[in-house]
Amino acid sequence: MIVRIMGEGQVEIGDGHFPELNKLDDELLAELEGGDEAGFRRTLGALLDAVRRLGEPLPDDALEPSELILPAPDATLDEVRQMLGDDGLIPG
């Protein structure tokens, strides 16, 4: 599956790795919804590290739609919450 880290590009990750990533991802969502900024930062970092570690980077000129998208490493809890809000990533 192709995963995009916003601001970093895309990586391809084998399906076998998803249980591990899902755990972190669910944790991240819980922290996001609970407003746990410190936890959010820690888990986002761990999730991005895991994606970078497990994924094979795609060349920059690859034209592949991303199945999953992750916020940029420096995205704040508020920013991500806004992205997931009703307006979505691209307002309007």
Partner: protein, 265 residues
């Protein structure tokens, strides 16, 4: 998958595929509809076949009745020829009842035939409709697939534009770094010029001048030493003083003495 990754991906795609209704795949709907139409067509065809079978059975019955009827007619004629009018009457009355049945069956046969024709026509029309639908369905599916591919590509491009902003950031960073280096280089030049920093390269102009000055003063010392030794050899006590005063302006007496004097006057 229900976490942030999935939701961001879904929102991203939903925006990118805004033109398409992702709640259901129209291609599946079209295929389902086509399937339903085929089933209906099949039913109509089966109906036509059933009616045709009934019609054939009626025709067989009619044939049998007519054979029986003509047989009774023959029997009646024979009975009359043999002078058995009672027997002839019996045969004819049975034939009359058979004729009645034949009449009824013929009405039924006509009705069935009309029904069959109508159903055949309906089946033909339905067949044409289903064929047209299949063509249309394939066209719509192809268009949809193309549109989907386009939005997918559009999505990829929006991803690429995001990457482009990364490139922009990288350029910005490079520019910042260059400016920083330039500022630092400027500051170092100033510090070196002011003498606050030693130039480690040894190529600075100050050192060249210093070296020249050292060489000159060194030369003067040698010259002075030479004059002093000459004076000692000559043995005069006031000679060194004189010699110093005369020799100090330089080893190159012609250059130093005469032009300088003239300049000063």
């Amino acid at each position: 998958m229900s976490g942030v990754m999935k939701r961001m991906g879904m929102i991203f795609r939903a925006k990118a595929n805004k033109a398409l209704d992702r709640a259901e795949d129209p291609r599946e709907t079209l295929d389902y509809s086509y399937q339903k139409q085929l089933e209906l067509l099949q039913k109509v065809r089966r109906g036509v076949a059933d009616v045709a079978t009934s019609r054939k059975r009626l025709e067989l019955q009619l044939n049998q009745l007519q054979t029986q009827s003509s047989k009774l007619e023959d029997q009646g004629r024979k009975a009359l020829a043999l002078g058995r009018e009672d027997l002839a009457r019996e045969a004819l009355s049975r034939r009359a009842s058979l004729q009645q049945q034949v009449g009824d069956l013929q009405v039924q046969h006509e009705t069935l035939q009309g029904e069959e024709e109508k159903l055949t026509l309906a089946a033909q029309r339905l067949q044409a409709k289903v064929d047209a639908f299949r063509t249309r369905k394939e066209t719509i599916k192809a268009t949809y697939t193309a549109a989907q591919a386009q939005t997918r590509i559009a999505e990829s491009f929006s991803g690429i534009s995001e990457e482009m902003s990364d490139v922009g950031l990288a350029i910005q960073r490079a520019e910042d770094k260059t400016a920083q280096l330039q500022a630092r280089a400027g500051a170092i030049d100033e510090l070196l010029a002011s003498g606050a920093l030693d130039d480690q390269s040894g190529l600075g102009s100050k050192d060249d001048i210093q070296a020249e000055l050292d060489r000159l003063s060194g030369g003067t010392d040698v010259e002075l030493e030479l004059q002093r030794m000459k004076a000692e050899l000559a043995g005069g006590s006031s000679a060194p003083q004189q010699a110093i005063e005369g020799g100090a302006p330089g080893a190159e007496q012609q250059q130093q003495q005469s032009p300088h004097r003239f300049d000063k006057q």
